[in-house]
Symmetry: C2
Subunit: 383 residues, 2 copies
């Protein structure tokens, strides 16, 4: 039997093909073979970003990628507008503050999306043009809310001097992010989410406008230097040793994604997440996030008052070998978070609903597991 | 037949056991299993560092680890003394300058070690006590020279306020580095050298004195923050997603190293490197580095005037599937560099000598391959 089932919002399960490719003997990063591979895989990722911009691949976690964006685009004292709807939005603001930026924070209630009117007001009130960039999370992993970025695009239409910087860590490769169409200057993702490879890579798209900002940035930097990465990429290389084995994995995951078809991958995530949410509701449980903006990659489920989420997770782990995440910070005792991104299919949705029902049952909490499964399969039958 | 033989000074070959462990399904980094693993593997690495100090493991390349040391220990305007004997010493200085440090450079001729008298003078002339740290490379990968750190320890004996920061990237795990005995405050290594796993981890030891400096550092930082890493490590965790699969690999490589015995690993590297050097000389070739300080992990070989190193490397790659490195910067047309660290045995030395002899022969350069092999086996017979 399978050792366990990862229903975390990252790291996510890794296809066997990817695991095996990463187990081949390693090659040197200054060899022709690596250089051709690195150039080819970079091109493949651009299709996932839906961009003609440069994509830089660094050895680091997603947080490293967020830091890289901040230190390359801005200078100490610069003002940025932060749109935060949860833990990872807040983190983006903390990073900016760590490097001396003046962070104008727009924080919205957890479980909801942002209010475009408030963003609009903040931008329009900035008569002196102090705001150099808008930092926003595409898919907030801590609450399971997907931000629609179209309103931001509209607001920024008349403010071409402002950079749009998007944390797409838990969305890219699972949720359609039209980087160029939305005018996103920098989008950041990482390897261990929808890209289905282990943690270790952060991928960053950089627009022409972003490159102009890079030229002006006075923030001290070395490891994350975009210019050095770009100069090396032209030769299929990296300034410092790259994560060779993860690049093997990324090539394979790109093959899998493009074989299924990018639009099919997006549709699959929408379908599976909808089935999961409908199942959850039919079981008698409550969704935490505003359903209108529910994330296709992670669902937050509000726990019944009588249920301690950490006890529930223990049962799920010990009896069903299913790993889900708890809530973060103030949501610790309120929700569980279920990841359904990357290497996932209908069986995973049904299994997770069933294991969740059985575990709640064991805790003495009455839920209607079969109705949950029935509702999920109804969603599947629709297509 | 084997696809290729990596005789690079990193990435180095990876034992099959390590490759296979990394191919197991990934686990969550906030799980008990990972936390226990991370704590255990951190303890195992301390033995390799020969330290009772903390060891922090970051997702990043060795250069990232060097940056982490600089941004955590110092503040803009601080003065540090750099001891450079090659490319990687220079890089350490560039990193320090990138973060606003005042770098007093002591650069020594490539192929030689540093002159302790000059270092002593620099320290003793610093009447105002401006020097906050000495940055030095243990094993210079660009030239194949091992710096003996004992003289530095002696010089710093009466200067307890100065931090000793050592780049041990191409030494730790292959060459005996007595971190505590030498009074090293921060030693940095990375995964893809003697630790025999793919690139992606940087490991950093931090002494009590270094922690005091960390408290005083005013350099902006987020991703590389030692304090956050240390606070999380107490719970077996990391502030941001760690490279889970590489931690699986590190556990396995620690097992292999401790199974062989750390001192035996060091002895093996000394023996193999000596056999290789003797073989090279007996073939009629010249070593680039001062033999008195020749590195046990990488050997630089001066090319005969008639030989273009890049042509030689092409033949080695195409006909013998042996990958060696070229010279860097001003040594590009002068040397080749042969790595013999980590997962390596007597066969590898003999094979490399033989392939090198055959390839030089093909280029019309007369060398005595058999004498080289004979001399190497004589060295092996001594023990």
């Amino acid at each position: 039997m399978r050792e366990f089932y990862l229903r975390l919002p990252g790291p996510t399960e890794i296809p066997e093909e990817v695991l095996l490719k990463m187990a081949r003997p390693i090659i040197g990063h200054r060899t022709n073979e690596f250089q051709q591979l690195f150039l080819a895989v970079t091109e493949e990722t651009k299709k996932v970003f839906k961009t003609k911009n440069d994509v830089l691949i660094f050895l680091g976690s997603g947080t490293g990628g967020m830091e890289a964006a901040v230190v390359n685009l801005f200078s100490p004292g610069d003002t940025i507008l932060l749109i935060s709807i949860g833990v990872f939005g807040d983190r983006f603001g903390e990073i900016a503050e760590s490097f001396g930026l003046n962070v104008e924070k727009l924080c919205f209630p957890w479980g909801k999306t942002y209010d475009p009117e408030i963003v609009k007001k903040a931008i329009y009130n900035d008569k002196e043009g102090k705001i150099k960039g808008v930092l926003v999370t595409h898919n907030e992993t801590s609450t399971g809310v997907l931000n629609d970025l179209v309103p931001i695009k509209e607001i920024l239409k008349d403010h071409q001097e402002i950079l749009l910087v998007v944390d797409a860590i838990s969305s890219l490769g699972a949720i359609d992010l039209k980087t160029d169409e939305l005018g996103i200057d920098v989008a950041i993702t990482s390897s261990q989410k929808a890209l289905m490879i282990p943690p270790g890579l952060t991928l960053i798209s950089v627009s022409d406008k972003a490159w102009e900002a890079v030229e002006k940035s006075k923030t001290n930097k070395f490891y994350w230097d975009f210019k050095k990465a770009s100069a090396n990429l032209k030769k299929g290389s990296t300034p410092y040793t790259p994560a060779v084995s993860l690049i093997f994995g990324l090539r394979e995951s790109m093959k899998l994604i493009h074989k299924e078809g990018l639009e099919n991958v997006f549709e699959r995530h929408i379908l599976l997440s909808r089935a999961f949410r409908e199942g959850i509701k039919a079981m008698g449980l409550t969704l935490f996030a505003d359903e209108q903006y529910a994330s296709p990659t992670v669902t937050s489920v509000r726990m019944p008052d009588a249920v301690d989420p950490s006890k529930l997770r223990k049962i799920l782990e010990n009896e069903y070998r299913v790993f889900v995440a708890g809530g973060q910070q103030k949501l610790k005792d309120t929700i569980i978070r279920v990841g359904h991104m990357g290497y996932i299919d209908k069986f995973d949705i049904i299994n997770t609903l069933w294991a969740l029902g059985m575990s709640l049952d064991k805790l003495g909490c009455e839920v209607d597991t079969l109705s949950g499964i029935d509702k999920a399969q109804e969603v599947f039958k629709e297509v």
